[in-house]
Amino acid sequence: MRVYFRILGAHLRSTLEYEADFAIMVVAGLLFQLLNLVFLSAIFAQVPHINGWTYAECVLVAGMYGIIAGLSPLFFEGMWSISWRINKGELDYPLIRPAPVAAQVIGSRIGLHGVGDLIVGGSMAGWAVTQVSVSWTPLTVAIGLLLFVSAAAIHLSFVTIFNLASFWIPGPHPFLAITMHNIEDMVRYPLTIYGQGLRLAFTVLVPFAFVTFFPLVWLLGKPFAWAGLLTPVVALWSVWLARFTFRRGLLRYESSGH
């Protein structure tokens, strides 16, 4: 952990030196998150709710996804370099240092567009939380936080797992991870709008439903609220799977050249 934050901090400083790039990245992140808000505002100007989800509730879904999606470039961007590292033998040095390989890899990059995601996502979620009808008790807050942390862990675990696929699928680009990331974007809307097949796939196959939908279903007291309480269990499973995949992947690591 300490090593990870040290590396990340050092990269943050070096990245901040390119001020123009920093500004553009943050603005780009902001714009993309604002798109979601504009879309929701525009359609809710026409209808009162979608499948029983109100404007504030939909904003909460999109906002929560914005925050979680923003965490990943800020704190996990290095994971996106793993396919390049595997391909070019750039895991050699992390492997000979007395610190976890994952920490060294994950900390090795920082994506500042996450700041934009966090700001807009945070504001959306912050506003929405005051609008939805939830009776806040210390217990709801505690469980809510636990579910949020679990949801973030699920997202980051699957970013990791799909990037680690590069240990098995050769090639210098994380194509599978990018594809899955695009697919995950679908959870910025309440999952009820999708057909049964997709909902099932997002619950059982790849648990993206637990990144936004189920935790909020619990918070908002919608049907299947109990399923939200499974989020921490799914998170544990995801984290375990990511670690297991990492370990198996490293056993397969072939470096480059001979």
Binding site: A42, I178, G195
Partner: protein, 255 residues
């Protein structure tokens, strides 16, 4: 002319080298398309919003998807890298016009995309029970044709910003977000709040998605296509102007 033809052909062949990234971008936009279809189906049901019922919204969404996909083969990244890595200096020594050369390459890279878009549209038509038929087929075709140079102009102008930045990713994202918002790709422009609809009406982005879609649905006619043509010409010469400014910046940088 022969040089441009050659660039066109090379680029058409190169598309296959980038088939994996193209595939990824199609799957990604496919996911986006499914999400759009799902949310609009949930919204519209059997009714209509802002003059769009389900069959016409389906047509709108698929046209918007097709125009988004056009020119997505990664050519813009290679164009940007050329500037970022300074290879543009070698391009300058060649006896071809830079802008026209890039346009020829862009046209070459479209071959595979047009096939993919045709497949995608047919697939969606089959799966969702078809769309409303085009109200003005010929005009729609002309409008779609004009989208091709327009998409090029947007990416070309964005790439030129690389003379002033050290990384293209932020620029590309900001550009894509702007196009998304003001082109009608996010939501039909008539549904935007006025404070966004007004700038959308005067910006060039609407010509790239909203224009062919509303021509298809018969909500507008020839005037929209004329506006598209106007933007093509204006942006083409704006790019030339910007190129000259950029070259001055380049010589100042290089010393």
């Amino acid at each position: 002319m022969r040089a441009y033809k050659r660039l066109f052909l090379i680029s058409a062949r190169n598309v296959f080298a980038y088939r994996m990234s193209a595939l990824v971008s199609w799957i990604g936009s496919g996911a986006f398309l499914i999400a759009s279809f799902a949310i609009w189906k949930a919204l519209l049901g059997d009714g209509s919003i802002g003059g769009y019922d389900w069959p016409s919204m389906k047509a709108y969404l698929i046209i918007s998807w097709a125009t988004m996909q056009l020119g997505g083969a990664g050519l813009e990244w290679r164009m940007a890298d050329r500037i970022l890595w300074g290879e543009v200096a070698t391009d300058l020594t060649k006896p071809v016009d830079y802008q026209k050369a890039r346009f020829a390459e862009y046209l070459g890279s479209l071959t595979l995309e047009l096939i993919a878009i045709t497949i995608g549209v047919s697939l969606v038509a089959m799966l969702t029970g078809g769309f409303a038929a085009p109200k003005q087929p010929l005009l729609f075709f002309a409008s779609m044709l004009l989208v091709i140079p327009l998409k090029f102009m947007f990416m070309y102008l964005a790439c030129m910003l690389c003379f002033w930045t050290s990384n293209y990713m932020g620029v590309a994202w900001a550009k894509n977000a702007l196009i998304m918002l003001f082109s009608g790709g996010l939501i039909p422009l008539s549904l935007l709040p006025t404070w966004l609809a007004t700038p959308a009406a005067v910006l060039p982005f609407a010509s790239v998605t909203a224009a062919p879609a509303i021509v298809y649905l018969g909500q507008a006619g020839l005037e929209v296509v004329v506006v598209q043509a106007f933007w093509v010409i204006l942006l083409w010469f704006t790019a030339r102007l910007l190129w000259r400014v950029a070259l001055r910046a380049l010589t100042v940088h290089g010393g």
